[in-house]
Amino acid sequence: MSAIPATAAEAGLLSCEYCHLLARPAGAGEPGFCPRCGAELSWRRHHSIQYTWALVIAAAICYIPANALPVLNTTTLGSTDSDTIIGGVVFLYTSGSWPLALVVLIASVMVPLGKLVALAYLLITVQKRSLGSNRERTRLYRIVEFVGRWSMLDVFVDTFTVALVQLSPLMSVDPGPGVLFFAAVVVLTMFAAESFDPRLIWDSNAGNEHG
């Protein structure tokens, strides 16, 4: 313990997660409600690490079929082509438009994977009460949270394509099962990022137990 408390909790205070008002808790065991916005106060989110782990694992599981199963079924004159995300990347690359391939690769493959890895890293470091690079980890968390809302691009493109290209019987496009899993990955990682309490990063120094 240092002379200057590192966190509000160490000083016996807690901040509202919504309006960020620093307040004294109503009681030691029961933090009470925010006097300004009325939101329920908590020292640390309940089961934050457990929740985040569960969602990250669920997202990781969904990530496999999201890439293995086709996201688009294109039917042209009776013959059906099934395309996975990676298949699309390979097709774009072999047909010469490597920048586009790179965009799809980053947005649809690397980013969800990166988010999962980042969240897992944060969770592990928090659980190990790791010291140092707290600032970087906080920045990482912010990036993960920010990127989350842009990750549904693939799903949007998919739905648009399916809705627009219905030239039956010449050509039609149907969503594949992969897109469902992809959406699940995105949603689950967003929830996982949401359920992670970034204050835990700083708790490591204090040695508090609010897992």
Binding site: Q50, L55, L77
Partner: protein, 555 residues
């Protein structure tokens, strides 16, 4: 909330949270995801059919990921890889079959590339023009699983569920028959040719056919198959008879079958029974010849125009055929003769007997002894002889005629030899030649020298006769000529007197100053003058018509 800050009576909350369930309910989410993902994985694995390899000679239009295997127009698999076989001669196509079709992939399943095909017997695979080629599939009957197949070059002609039976035909040559050639029963298409190949000994062609269900029951042990392609034109006393199965058969070749009406005992046949394919209907319906006797004939004349298969006739009725035409050399006498082997089918001749004799004739044929006795009697007592005859004057085709020549030199049949020799008589052309030669020979023998002497004698006599005649003429000359001279002199006198008469006449009538001429000239001058004055008168009258009334006016 405000009261709470005032009151200190409430128990102090502990900073240590109460014991809660260690496992949060949120773990249901990854559990659920795992269950769904594993479920899908299991479904995928379960629906995974076998992967098979098909070897094609050429994989036209077959593309990985785009070509399907279709059975009854349902996709049962997809091509995942197309590559050359290790020896570069064939194409290996790797196909992932559907789970549902796994049971169909057995040893004798058939695969072939379906592409548009236009043949004489039809157009198939037109749908592939739009959808691209696909691999056709035909289930097998075996239970043995197999993973490596050899693709067919052409689609199988019939499908396994088609009811009917397979039969095999043995033919001397394939003719115009091809795979898919129709088979007709009473001009209805009853089946088709599905395969053919050369017999292992190379001497015949084995044709595999399939006869469809309602018709296959008409195939029995006595059924005859024949080649029905082309036209069958026969000219008879009743006119020209043209038989044709169908235009398709004419172009693409075809077979036909039927059972002769005369056959009474017919037994059902099993599938894959072997039949003989006859070249035409007539040959197919010919009575089978159970009795065949071989004979040999030795001719001392040209066999040009006699071919194997030429008919052998007895009194003009066909009763056999020529089976071999060759030579015979007798080394002792250095004699080369024409050797003709014939096969006679006595049943065909007996069939021409009337009904009363038919039974007796057949009975006679059944015994070899009686047959021999009959033949011997015919040859030795009745003079049965073989003769080469011209069947066609234009082409010079010959045939063998058996006829009776009671005057022919006696001959005996030697039954110990095989084949038995039938004595021959020279052909009629040969006969004629012989006769002419005979005449020439006789001419040769005439006593030309004696005749010459005679002729000389005759000439001498003739010479004398002529001399006699000359004398006679001389005599006539001497006696008759003086009289003739006298007659001529008299004639001359007569002529000169006639001349005088004519001259006097001349003086009166046609002489220059003959009086008759003078008178005539005067008369003509008078007439000319009259005509002139008449013309003057008419001219005047034309100018002065009034003169007729008034008279001539003096100028």
């Amino acid at each position: 909330m405000a009261e709470r800050t005032d009151s200190d009576n409430f128990p102090q909350a502990t900073l240590v949270p109460q014991k809660r369930r260690r496992i949060s309910i949120v773990w249901i989410v990854p559990l659920f995801a795992a269950v769904v993902a594993i479920g899908i994985a299991i479904q995928r694995i379960m629906s995974e059919g076998p992967t098979i390899t098909i070897v094609f000679r050429a994989a036209q239009g077959v593309e990985a990921g785009k070509t399907f295997i279709k059975y009854k127009d349902v996709n049962i698999g997809q091509v995942t890889k197309v590559q050359l076989a290790s020896d570069y001669a064939k194409v290996e196509v790797t196909v992932k079959m559907d789970k549902s079709a796994a049971g169909l992939i057995v040893e004798d399943a058939k695969f072939w590339v379906v592409e548009p095909r236009v043949t004489l017997s039809g157009v198939s695979g037109l749908s592939t023009l739009l959808s691209g080629n696909y691999i056709g599939f035909e289930v097998g009957k075996s239970d043995k699983k197999q993973r490596k197949f050899t693709g067919l070059e052409t689609p199988p002609a019939i499908t396994s569920e088609q009811a009917g039976r397979h039969f095999a035909l043995k033919a001397e040559s394939l003719g115009s028959v091809g795979i898919g050639s129709p088979i007709y029963y009473r001009r209805l298409q009853a089946g088709q040719v599905i395969a053919y190949n050369l017999a292992p000994d190379g001497k015949s062609v084995d044709i595999k056919i399939f006869v469809n269900a309602p018709y296959d029951k008409y195939v029995n042990s006595e059924t005859r198959f024949w080649n029905a392609s082309g036209l069958d034109v026969s000219v008879g006393a009743g006119g020209v008879d043209v038989r044709m199965q169908s235009l398709v058969a004419l172009l693409a070749g075809g077979l036909a079958f039927d059972t002769p009406n005369v056959v009474s005992k017919s037994e059902p046949v099993t599938a894959n029974a072997v039949f003989t394919l006859y070249p035409d209907q007539t040959a197919a319906f010919k009575q089978p010849d159970t009795i065949a006797a071989r004979y040999v004939l030795y001719f001392n004349e040209s066999l040009r125009g006699l071919s194997v298969g030429a008919p052998v006739t007895l009194l003009g009725l066909p009763g056999g055929e020529v089976t071999d035409v060759g030579l015979d050399l007798d080394p002792k006498t250095m004699r080369v003769r024409g050797r003709v082997e014939i096969t006679s089918y006595p049943e065909r001749l007996v069939a021409h007997l009337n009904e009363k004799q038919l039974a007796a004739g057949r009975a006679m044929l059944r015994s070899g002894q009686e047959r021999h006795a009959l033949m011997q009697g015919l040859v030795e007592r009745r003079g049965l002889r073989a003769q080469l005859r011209s069947g066609n004057l234009v082409t010079g085709q010959l045939f063998i005629a058996l006829d009776f020549y009671p005057d022919a030199a006696k001959a005996k049949i030697d039954w110990s030899r095989d084949p038995v020799e039938i004595p021959v008589v020279p052909s009629t052309v040969q006969d004629l030649e012989t006769k002419i030669t005979g005449i020439v020979a006789k001419l040769d023998k005439l006593p030309y020298e004696a005749i010459g002497t005679d002729v000389t004698k005759v000439l001498v006599t003739l010479n004398q006769t002529l001399q006699d005649a000359s004398k006679a003429v001389n005599r006539i000359d001497a006696d008759v000529t003086p009289e003739l001279k006298m007659i001529v002199g008299e004639l001359r006198g007569t002529i000169s007197s006639a001349d005088g008469v004519l001259k006097s006449t001349d003086a009166t009538l046609v002489g220059k100053d003959a009086p008759a001429q003078q008178d005539l000239r005067d008369a003509l001058q008078e007439i000319a003058r009259t005509a002139r004055s008449l013309r003057v008168l008419t001219d005047y009258l034309e100018r002065h018509p009034e003169a007729l009334i008034r008279g001539k006016v003096e100028e």
